[in-house]
Symmetry: C2
Subunit: 452 residues, 2 copies
């Protein structure tokens, strides 16, 4: 009797796996031979371009996303209103090193996102630090009235570049506050980018109410390397002009599309990326790729006539880069609606060759995730372990404690060549790598719907 049951269960499991494998093969075939992800990304990058929250391009991106979803004939397509910070780079953004002998050397820089402007030309003697922590330990008298330059590089010895990024997060985020505490009149940082090149990398920074606001900008790694060497040998000053500024919060939207659950329409699996980007380059890897991945994932399930058990909800989140208002508003709204939320998944690590998925959930979800590994093996995905979901979906954790958040994990090696830099353009994304990401995400959403 027991044996019979075991046999029946085993046969059922094997059949289910076979069914999954067959369907997932059809997902990959469609994505690789008739996929739309690469054209989506091209259109988002070229027809819209960079799309910082509050910009005209962000508004156009919302319209673009909604129309794209409607063209795919999802069951429901709608906008969710949110309020977002609105910061603009302005039209003036220049910087020069003035050497001891008075020679001017122009550098490539970008204001950090959220920085105040300089109100005309701002000049000051440079003080060099190699790490943001060294600045904290310095004497205030050696910094007052000067411009701080922090030449802290990403740790190239880290194998996973996101770990190296984590090590520089306070540099970019807190550099201005730490400099201002010491009386500096501006802070320059080395771009948080991996290669030595001419592209500056912007990104979010913050001020504190009780601390003087001072301008903050990032130099390209090549310029930072040069300036770091120069300051070892001689004194130099810096001339900076930036007219970036913040405006009143703007109205914006998350863009939402769904395939309704056939059995449990009120039980939701959310997945997506973020529609906003920094205002430089084209936001191709960050996070045009995630948008293209997730739009394509739901399109693939739709055209393959998959009828989900639960409602699959695709969200193109607005404002991940400087406020996460899209993610925060979405999580509250879901909670207020009284929906049951099963899981969420995010793609925000670029459009590179897929390596696997990670999940922040408990043992039960870790076991589930690992159980998918054999199904993904033919597609060369092998990383299935504990890890972070994503910024946009993280507020769901506050509203639904214990909800498993899944993160798509592509190869990380090239991500910080492009992140928040003018080089993050459509041409930096490889067609097959993008398509394989879309297929992997469609497959994971399918497996979660079937096995959660």
């Amino acid at each position: 009797m027991k044996l019979t049951i075991l046999f029946v269960i085993s046969a059922f499991v094997i059949n289910a796996q076979k069914y999954d494998s067959t369907f997932i093969k059809s997902i990959y075939n469609e994505a690789l031979s008739k996929g739309d992800s690469y054209q989506s990304l091209r259109s988002l990058c070229k027809d819209i371009g960079a799309r910082l929250s509050g910009s005209a391009e962000a508004a156009m991106a919302i319209e673009w996303g909604k129309k794209k979803m409607e063209s795919y004939q999802f069951d429901a397509v709608y906008l969710q209103e949110i309020k977002v910070p609105h910061w603009e780079r302005g039209t003036k953004e220049s910087g020069w090193i003035r050497t001891q002998k008075g020679k001017l050397i122009k550098v490539n820089l970008l204001a950090l996102g959220g920085s105040i402007g300089t109100n005309g030309l701002l000049e000051g003697e440079l003080v060099l630090f190699n790490h943001v922590d060294d600045l904290k330990k310095a004497k205030k008298s050696s910094i007052e009235g000067k411009i701080v330059f922090i030449n802290q590089a990403m740790n190239e010895k880290e194998i996973n570049t996101f770990k190296a990024y984590g090590g520089c997060y306070t540099l970019r985020g807190n550099g201005a506050v730490e400099g201002a505490k010491m009386g500096a009149k501006a802070v320059l940082i080395r771009s948080v980018g991996m290669p030595l090149d001419k592209h500056p990398h912007t990104g979010s920074m913050h001020y504190e109410d009780s601390i003087q606001k001072i301008p903050a900008a990032a130099l390209s790694t090549e310029d930072a390397e040069f300036l770091g060497q120069l300051l070892k040998n001689e004194k130099a000053s810096f001339v900076l002009e930036m007219d970036c500024r913040s405006y009143e919060d703007a109205t914006s939207y998350n863009v939402i599309g769904e395939l309704k659950g056939s059995t449990f329409p009120n039980e939701i699996i959310t997945f997506g990326g973020h529609l906003d980007s920094w205002d430089t380059g084209e936001g191709a890897h960050d996070d045009g790729a995630g948008i293209a991945h997730c739009l394509e994932a739901l399109r693939l399930l739709k055209v393959l006539n998959y009828r989900p058990t639960h409602t699959l909800r695709l969200v193109l989140f607005m404002n991940e880069e400087n406020g996460n208002k899209g993610g925060k508003t979405y999580a509250k709204w879901v909670k207020e609606k009284g929906e049951k939320h099963l899981a969420a998944l995010e793609s925000d690590r670029g459009g590179f060759s897929p390596r696997g998925f990670q999940c922040d959930g408990n043992e039960k979800f870790q076991t589930l995730l690992k159980s998918f590994a054999p199904t993904f093996a033919p597609y060369e995905l092998s990383e299935f372990g504990k890890g972070y979901g994503g910024v946009d979906i993280s507020p769901l954790k506050d509203e639904f404690p214990g909800i498993p958040l899944f993160g798509f994990v592509p190869d990380s090696q090239r991500y910080f060549d492009f992140h928040h830099a003018p080089s993050d353009v459509f041409e930096s994304v490889n067609k097959r790598e993008l398509e394989l990401g879309a297929a992997a995400i469609a497959s994971m959403i399918y497996l979660l719907d079937r096995h959660l």
Copy 2:
């Protein structure tokens, strides 16, 4: 007693693994922070350039390789003389579609390597086939005196692009012979490249003594796509001029460097890539990357003061692309010298992010390979299974049956964007991806030396 032995053995194994892990960490640190692989590749691509067997550039590459090895102060650096085929593209290489209405449309093409020229302008009506197998089944009368165009694409549904490449190998290799059997006066193929773009991809083809030699060229995938569509709707002809030709075999060299074995100097582990390339682009991924990987691997072991047990022999093989005379000559020479050959490893799949290693050896070697997986896990390598070693090292199998041949496996997705095409230039290689490959290969050579 038994328990004690088990404990001692376990402790020994754990200590050995810890020792390996510590040393491998130092390999990665050196490669990522003070590595020379990227500069090597830059120099090979920019100071030498494309380097087909028999060319002046191939001769310069040999000098370059020897000097590079000498600068690294390997224990022995020497050349091994070989004879190589010598084919030159010449100065004339053009093709036009002539439409039914007489409109001329110039296309991007490359003669296949080894092709004869056209002896002036050659024109003929085009006959379309979608697969080389369809050509074999066609009526001779429909082909005689015409130009065959085979519009066979790589199968984009294959996850690993090398499998898709395998499916097109007879297209490029045998297309001319199959066309000539049917009385065609030339054969055009769709380039064996994955993306739809303007770059034609060359590569080796062969003739048979008893079959008429006819010219063979590859059109860019974009031009092939266009021509394939055109020929569905109307007749067209093709005008071709190529003055490529073969010359007498030339004298050339494998470049060899060694770290001598401290315990078993006459027991050899060979590893390398191929120094020659096709004559278009800069041979960056194919196989400049393999050369940079392996030069760096031995340099890393040398600068980290590793004293190998067995002799580690780095070979920069000449003539992989059109004859494999380097690999064949090397294998015979090793056999004649009476050396014991433990294993060989090749890197010839590009400079992309590492995924693992494969081995063609028996169960014992498969077990050994798999035992390395935990040591490589922190470096995000996960593929350790059965597979091909490489073209250059494969003749060793004839001389030493049972010898395990290892192949380095980087991510395959972008390889056939560049393979044998003008786009295979230094800029297509990412610094970190290349460095990680060099570190992985150094680590594998170290592990083989320690555990074989």
